[in-house]
C-alpha cells in the first residue's frame, strides 16, 4: 500500500481513482498537478463539476442531457417531430448529429436490455417512448442501437411493443464502410451486405 504524507492528498487521490480509466498512479499525478495550479483555477474546476452535477437536466421529451427541461433538439421548430431515432446513449446522438444528415428528433434509452447485467425492459426508457408513439403524430421510428446481441434483442422488443401502432419501423443499414476495400471487410459484415443488398437506384444520391 502507498503511504501518503498527507491525509488530504490521500482522500483526493482516492476520489480521483474512482473515475473510469484512472488508476492510482494517474490519480496521484492529477492530484499533484492540481496542487501546483493557482487556487482560483482549482476552485473554478471543482465549481464547474459541482454545477454540472447539480444543474444538468434530462430532457423530458427525449432524455438527452440538457440545460433546460426540453433540450435544444426537441425545442427546435425545424426538427421533424414525426421521426424519432432510438439510440442507446448521448454519445450516439452526438455521432448522428455530426453527420448532419438527420433532421428528426431522438429518443435516448439509456441502455440496452441485458439480463446478465440486471437490465430489464423496465430499467430503460421504453415506456416513455411508447407513450410518445401513442399520443403524438409519429410516422417513423428509426432503430439505431448497437449491433450486438443485446442491441438486437432490444430492437426486437421495441418492434413487438410498437408494431401495432400505425407507424413505420426501420433500422439503420449495416454493411461495408465507405472507402473500404471489400477484400479487407470481415466476412460477417460482407455476408450481411450481400444478403441485404438494395436496388442500385436507391443508392444514387437524392
Amino acid at each position: 500500500m502507498n503511504s501518503y504524507s498527507s491525509k488530504l492528498l490521500e482522500n483526493a487521490v482516492n476520489e480521483l481513482a474512482k473515475l473510469p480509466g484512472i488508476g492510482r498512479k494517474t490519480a496521484l499525478r492529477l492530484a499533484l498537478h492540481l496542487l501546483k495550479e493557482d487556487i482560483e483555477q482549482v476552485e473554478a474546476f471543482s465549481r464547474a463539476i459541482t454545477k454540472m452535477r447539480n444543474e444538468v437536466r434530462f430532457c423530458q421529451e427525449c432524455h438527452n442531457i440538457s440545460d433546460l427541461d426540453i433540450c435544444e433538439i426537441c425545442s427546435n421548430l425545424k426538427r421533424k417531430k414525426s421521426i424519432i431515432c432510438v439510440v442507446e446513449d448521448i454519445r450516439d446522438v452526438m455521432a448522428i448529429e455530426n453527420t448532419g444528415q438527420y433532421h428528426g428528433v431522438y429518443h435516448i434509452l439509456g441502455g440496452v436490455i441485458s439480463p446478465m447485467d440486471g437490465i430489464g425492459p423496465a430499467d430503460i426508457n421504453i415506456i416513455t417512448l411508447e407513450n410518445k408513439v401513442a399520443k403524438q403524430e409519429v410516422e417513423e421510428i428509426i432503430l439505431a442501437l448497437p449491433t450486438t446481441i443485446e442491441g438486437d434483442t432490444t430492437n426486437f422488443y421495441l418492434f413487438k411493443k410498437l408494431k401495432n401502432y400505425n407507424i413505420n419501423i426501420s433500422i439503420i443499414a449495416r454493411g461495408v464502410a465507405i472507402g473500404d476495400e471489400l477484400e479487407y471487410t470481415d466476412e460477417i459484415t460482407l455476408g450481411r451486405s450481400i444478403l441485404n443488398r438494395m436496388p442500385y437506384e436507391h443508392s444514387l444520391k437524392k
Binding site: I113, S114, P115, M116, G118, G120, P121, I149, E150, D152, T153, F156, Y157, K160, D186, E187, I188, G191
Partner: protein
C-alpha cells in the same frame, strides 16, 4: 504444403535443434520423456499459435532459461516459401510472425497453415461429456464458416441472458413473459441455423469417416456417428414453449442446441461401453483422418498430419494399414513418434516410401 525446416531454441526440453524434413514421412524415435512429442507440439504451435498440451505459454519455456523460439520454413506450391516464427520471453506477450511481420491478432493466422493432430488424448472425445464433442465439431465447422462461429457466439450470449433472466425470476418470485420471449426469438433464429449446419456437416463427414475406419479395421466392424439433437423433428420455438415450466423450475434453459451430442457406436452399440481400447483408438484416428480429408477438400491443399504415439494399443495389421494409408498420395507430410525403432524399420522395409528417421534422446535430435 509442407514444413521444410524447423529450428527450436529452449522449447520445453529441447535446448537447440535444426531439422530438415522429408516431404512425406518423418519419424521421431526415442524412449519415454526424451522429447519426441515436444517436436510435434512445436509444429502445432506454428499452426495454432499455442500448445496442444499446455495452454500456459510460460510453462513451455525450458526450465531455467528465459525464452523460447520456434522457426518454421514452409513450402507452399513449389515456389513460395513462408517463414513463421513464434518467440516468447518469460512473462511477456508471445510474438508471432509471418515473414517477420508481427501479427496483431493471432486469430488471423489460424487456418492459414492447416494441421491435424492425432494424439492419445483424442480418446477424451469418447469418454468425456458431450461438451467436448460439441466443441470438436464447432471447431471444425468454424474453421471454414465464420458466420457459424459468429452465430454460435451470439447464441451462447443470448442463452446466458435467458438463464440470468430465469434465475432472476426464480429468486424474486416474478415472471414476465414479454422479457423472456425476446430471448426465445434470438435462440430460435440462431439455433435453427446452427442445427442445420451441424446436421449437414455430420452428414457429409460420416461417409468419409466410415471409409477410413473400414480401411484400418479391414472392414470387420460397423461404425456410425449419429448427430443427436432435440431439434430433430421439432422446431425450437415450440420446444421452448413446452419446456417453460421446467426451465422456470431449474432456473436455466433445458432445451436447445447446447444440449446436442454425437453418438459414437460400433456394431450398433455405444462405443464408450462396448468398444475395446484398440477399437476406440481406431475410431478416433478415423475421425481425425476424416477431418484431414474434409479440411483438404475445402482448403484445396493437404494439411500437415501429426501422429503422436499412435501405435500404442493397436495390432500390427492396423498399424500397417494406417502407415500404408498415409503414405498414399492423398496425404501430404506426416510426422510420427514411436518408442521402438525395430517396429518402424520393419514397416518401412515392406513399404517403399520416402521417409526420414530421427532419433531423440534427452532433448537432442539426430
Amino acid at each position: 504444403m509442407y514444413l521444410k525446416r524447423l529450428t527450436l531454441n529452449n522449447f520445453k526440453n529441447c535446448t537447440e535443434a535444426d531439422l530438415s524434413f522429408s516431404e512425406k514421412i518423418n519419424c521421431f524415435i526415442g524412449n519415454n520423456g526424451t522429447g519426441k512429442t515436444n517436436i510435434l507440439d512445436a509444429i502445432y504451435y506454428l499452426s495454432f499459435c499455442k500448445s496442444y498440451f499446455n495452454q500456459i505459454d510460460n510453462q513451455n519455456i525450458k526450465h531455467e532459461t528465459s525464452f523460447f523460439a520456434i522457426h518454421g520454413y514452409y513450402v507452399k506450391n513449389s515456389k513460395q516459401q513462408d517463414t513463421i516464427s513464434c518467440t516468447l520471453q518469460r512473462n511477456q506477450k508471445k510474438q508471432f510472425r509471418l515473414h517477420k511481420k508481427l501479427y496483431h491478432r493471432l486469430a488471423d493466422h489460424i487456418g492459414l497453415f492447416p494441421l491435424v493432430m492425432v494424439s492419445p488424448y483424442d480418446r477424451d472425445l469418447i469418454n468425456e461429456g458431450s461438451e467436448l464433442r460439441r466443441k470438436y465439431i464447432d471447431s471444425v465447422i468454424s474453421q471454414f464458416d465464420k458466420v457459424y462461429l459468429d452465430d454460435l457466439i451470439n447464441y451462447n450470449k443470448a442463452l446466458s441472458h435467458r438463464n440470468a433472466l430465469l434465475k432472476y425470476f426464480a429468486v424474486n418470485r416474478t415472471f414476465d413473459k414479454a422479457s423472456l420471449e425476446i430471448w426465445d426469438e434470438q435462440l430460435v433464429n440462431l439455433g435453427q441455423g446452427i442445427f442445420e449446419k451441424r446436421h449437414k456437416f455430420i452428414k457429409s463427414f460420416t461417409p468419409i469417416f466410415q471409409e477410413y475406419f473400414n480401411f484400418i479395421s479391414d472392414g470387420k466392424e460397423q461404425v456410425a456417428i449419429k448427430y443427436e439433437s432435440q431439434l430433430k423433428g421439432n422446431d425450437l420455438k415450440s420446444l421452448l414453449a413446452q419446456a417453460i415450466g421446467k426451465d422456470r423450475m431449474f432456473g436455466h434453459t433445458t432445451v436447445g442446441i447446447h444440449k446436442d451430442d454425437l453418438l459414437f457406436s460400433i456394431g450398433g452399440y455405444p462405443l464408450k461401453k462396448f468398444g475395446s481400447q484398440g477399437q476406440q483408438k481406431s475410431f478416433v484416428i478415423s475421425v481425425k483422418l476424416a477431418q484431414f480429408e474434409y479440411t483438404k477438400n475445402i482448403k484445396g491443399f493437404k494439411p500437415v498430419l501429426l501422429f503422436d504415439d499412435i501405435f500404442d494399443k493397436l495390432d500390427e495389421i492396423r498399424v500397417k494399414q494406417i502407415v500404408k494409408l498415409v503414405s498414399e498420395n492423398s496425404f501430404g507430410q506426416v510426422f510420427i513418434t514411436d518408442t521402438q525403432k525395430e517396429r518402424i524399420d520393419k514397416i518401412f522395409l515392406s513399404l517403399n516410401i520416402d521417409h526420414k528417421i530421427f532419433s531423440v534422446d534427452d532433448g537432442e535430435v539426430k
